[in-house]
C-alpha cells in the first residue's frame, strides 16, 4: 500500500471517534469526497465550500507576495538604503533583499493567524461533534493582509481568538456569522491596541523600534511611515504620485496597498463567479458619489482651507479608490457571501452604502482613517434588513399583480 493510499484510508481508522472531524477535514481537503448524496437530490456542481475558498485564496496570493516585497521595500526606503522606484517592474522593488525582509516579517503573521484560527475551529468541531467548517481558510489569509507589518504576534493571536470565537462560533459557526470574521479581528485590534494599528510608525518595519531608540536618547535618524490617509487626516503634504498609489508602493496594511493587483484579483473573482460584481461595482460608485459630493462642497467654497476636513475633502474623488484599504475591503471583505446581502437588488444597495459610508467616515472622523472597515461592519449588520425589505417589496408587487389579475 503506497503512501497515497495510506493517506486516503487514514480517516477510516478514526471513524466514529471524537477526533473524526479532524481527520475528515484533512481528508476532504486533499481528496474529493467520494460520498454521493442519498435520495433524490444530486448536487452536480464541482465547487464545494473548500474549492470556493481556495479560489479566493488563490486570488489573494499576488497581494500577499506583493505585500512581502513592499514590506521590505518600505523598510529599506525609510532607512535610505534604496531610492524610490518608478515603474511597476523596477528591479529595485522586486529585489531579493526586499523579499527576504518581507518573508521574515509577514510569514510569521500568516502562520500565527492560521494556527490560532484553525486550532479554535478544530476545537469547536471536536467539542460540538460536527465536521470541521472551512470558514477560516479565507479569513486566515485575509487577516495578515489587513494588519500593519510590525504588529506583535501575540496581539494577532489574541485578536484571532476573539474574532473566531465571538465573531463566528457563538453564532453557530461558518455561514451563521453576522459580521465578517476578518474585519471583526481587525476591529478588535484597532480598538484594543490603537497604538499598534494607527499612527505614523507601525506601517513601516523598524519605525517603532527606531522611535523607541530615539526616545532613549540614541542618535538615529527618525523613520516615519505615515499612510496617505493618515497624512491627509493630519493635513500633511502627500509626496506619493498617483502611479505609486495605483501600483502600491506606499505604506499601509500588508496586502491593501496595490490597487492594481486587487483589481486583477477582482476580475478573477468576477469571472470565476465567486465574488459579486454587483457589490464591487456599486461600492465603487458609492465611493465616487460621496467623493464628488465632498469635492463640490469644496468647490462651492463652503469649506475653506482652515477647516480640519479640508485636505481630505479636497482630495480628488477618484483618489479615494486608490488610497487606504478601500479597494481591498470592497473586493475581498464586502463580497463575503455570508455577511453580504443575498438578493440582487439588496446587493446594489448594500454595496453602494458601503462605498458611500466609507468615504464619509474617512473624511469626518480622522481618528478612524480606515472608514471601509467600519462601513463594511456596519452594513454587515444591516444586510439582513435590506434583504427583508427587498423580499417584502417583491411580495407586495406580486400581490398587486395578483389582485389586478383576479379583479
Amino acid at each position: 500500500m503506497g503512501l497515497f493510499d495510506k493517506l486516503h484510508k487514514i480517516n477510516d481508522k478514526y471513524k466514529g471517534t471524537k477526533l473524526a472531524p479532524l481527520f475528515n477535514g484533512f481528508h476532504t481537503f486533499l481528496f474529493t469526497p467520494n460520498e454521493v448524496t442519498h435520495g433524490g437530490t444530486h448536487v452536480k456542481a464541482a465547487d464545494d465550500l473548500k474549492r470556493t475558498m481556495n479560489t479566493v485564496i488563490m486570488s489573494l496570493v499576488p497581494c500577499l507576495i506583493f505585500g512581502m516585497f513592499n514590506a521590505g521595500y518600505q523598510h529599506y526606503l525609510a532607512l535610505g538604503d534604496i531610492e524610490a522606484v518608478e515603474g511597476f517592474f523596477s528591479a529595485a522593488f522586486w529585489s531579493w533583499d526586499n523579499l527576504v525582509m518581507g518573508i521574515i516579517k509577514v510569514l510569521p503573521l500568516v502562520i500565527v493567524s492560521y494556527v490560532v484560527g484553525l486550532a479554535i475551529e478544530f476545537l469547536f468541531a471536536v467539542i460540538k461533534g460536527h465536521e470541521i467548517e472551512e470558514g477560516y481558510l479565507v479569513t486566515g489569509m485575509l487577516v495578515p493582509l489587513i494588519v500593519p507589518v510590525d504588529l506583535p504576534l501575540w496581539m494577532l493571536a489574541v485578536a484571532v481568538a476573539f474574532g473566531v470565537v465571538i465573531g463566528k462560533e457563538v453564532f453557530g459557526g461558518t455561514g451563521m456569522n453576522i459580521l465578517n470574521p476578518a474585519l471583526t479581528i481587525r476591529a478588535f485590534l484597532f480598538f484594543a491596541y490603537p497604538t499598534w494599528m494607527s499612527g505614523d510608525k507601525v506601517w513601516v518595519h523598524g519605525a517603532v523600534e527606531n522611535a523607541q531608540q530615539m526616545a532613549a536618547g540614541k542618535n538615529v535618524d527618525a523613520i516615519s511611515g505615515e499612510t496617505i490617509l493618515g497624512s491627509l487626516a493630519q493635513g500633511h503634504e502627500v509626496h506619493y504620485s498617483v502611479a505609486d498609489m495605483f501600483f502600491g508602493f506606499i505604506p499601509g496594511s500588508i496586502g491593501e496597498t496595490s490597487t492594481l493587483l486587487i483589481a486583477l484579483a477582482a476580475l478573477f473573482l468576477i469571472f470565476s463567479k465567486i465574488g459579486s460584481w454587483r457589490i464591487m461595482f456599486s461600492a465603487v460608485v458609492g465611493a465616487l458619489v460621496m467623493g464628488l459630493i465632498f469635492n463640490s462642497v469644496v468647490d462651492a467654497g463652503w469649506i475653506t482651507e482652515g477647516s480640519k476636513f479640508y485636505t481630505l475633502m479636497s482630495t480628488e474623488f477618484w483618489h479615494h479608490l486608490l488610497i487606504g484599504g478601500f479597494a481591498f475591503g470592497v473586493v475581498f471583505m464586502a463580497t463575503d457571501p455570508v455577511t453580504a446581502s443575498q438578493t440582487n437588488k439588496g446587493k446594489w444597495i448594500y454595496g453602494f452604502l458601503i462605498g458611500f459610508i466609507s468615504i464619509l467616515i474617512r473624511v469626518f472622523n480622522p481618528a478612524y482613517p480606515e472608514g471601509v472597515m467600519l462601513a463594511i461592519l456596519l452594513m454587515n449588520v444591516f444586510a439582513p434588513t435590506i434583504d427583508h425589505y427587498v423580499v417584502q417589496g417583491n411580495v407586495k408587487k406580486r400581490m398587486k399583480r395578483l389582485k389586478a389579475k383576479t379583479a
Partner: protein, 215 residues
C-alpha cells in the same frame, strides 16, 4: 437549617446563580455596562444597590396593603428616589472623588429595572422578612456579576485592580509589560462589557443545561 428556612435560603441563593437578575433575567444591563470599567466603581455600585434594594423592599412590603394599586408605581419611585438620594449624599460625604464619577449612575439606580422589578414582583405580595431576603439576594446576584465584569475589565484594560498596578507599570515597562504586554484598550469601552457579560452567560448556561431555552 439554622438561621434561614430552606424556602428562605432559596430567596438568597437563587438570584446568585440560576435566576441571576443580569445573566438570566437580563435586567439592569445598562448600569452593568456603564460603570464596570473600574472594579472600585463596580463595588460601590453593588453596595449602593444592595442598600437600596434591601431597604426598599422592606419599605414597600410594609406599606403594601395601603398603597392604592393605581398609583403604586409613583409610590415605588418615591421610595427608590428617597433611598438613592441617601446613598448619593453618603457618597458625597465620605467618598467625594468617587461620587463625582459615579453620581450620574447612582442617580440612575432609580431607573434600574431590577429594583422596580422586585418591588412589583415580590415586595408587593410578600411579608417583610421574605421581601428583605429577596432584595438582598437579587442585589447580591447583581453585584456579583458587576464585580466579575469590573475585575476583568480593569485587570485587562488598565492592568490595575482597585487602582493598584498588579501587572506592572506600562510606562516604565516593569512586570509583564517588560515582555511586550500591552493593555487592551477595548476592555475599557462599553461594548466589551456586553461581551464579557455574554461570556458569563455562555459559561453559566453551558454548565447548567436546564437554563437553555427551547428553540
Amino acid at each position: 437549617m439554622g438561621l434561614l428556612s430552606r424556602k428562605d435560603a432559596k430567596l438568597i441563593s437563587d438570584p446568585l446563580a440560576d435566576n441571576n437578575p443580569i445573566t438570566i433575567q437580563v435586567l439592569g444591563i445598562c448600569s452593568a455596562l456603564a460603570i464596570t470599567a473600574e472594579l472600585k466603581a463596580s463595588i460601590v455600585m453593588a453596595v449602593s444597590v444592595l442598600f437600596v434594594m434591601g431597604v426598599g423592599n422592606v419599605v414597600i412590603s410594609l406599606i403594601r396593603n395601603i398603597i392604592p394599586s393605581k398609583i403604586r408605581i409613583i409610590v415605588q419611585l418615591t421610595v427608590v428616589a428617597a433611598l438613592v438620594i441617601i446613598v448619593d449624599q453618603v457618597l458625597k460625604a465620605f467618598a467625594y472623588e468617587l461620587s463625582k464619577t459615579l453620581s450620574v449612575f447612582v442617580g440612575l439606580i432609580i431607573t434600574n429595572c431590577i429594583i422596580m422589578g422586585r418591588f412589583e414582583a415580590f415586595a408587593l405580595g410578600n411579608g417583610l422578612w421574605r421581601s428583605f431576603l429577596d432584595g438582598i439576594g437579587n442585589a447580591l446576584g447583581y453585584g456579583v456579576i458587576l464585580i466579575i465584569v469590573g475585575f476583568f475589565r480593569e485587570l485587562l484594560g488598565a492592568g490595575t485592580l482597585l487602582g493598584y498596578k498588579v501587572l506592572g507599570d506600562p510606562i516604565e515597562k516593569t512586570g509583564v509589560y517588560a515582555f511586550g504586554y500591552e493593555n487592551n484598550g477595548f476592555m475599557l469601552l462599553a461594548p466589551m462589557a456586553l461581551i464579557v457579560v455574554g461570556i458569563i452567560i455562555w459559561v453559566q448556561r453551558s454548565r447548567n443545561k436546564a437554563l437553555i431555552e427551547d428553540e
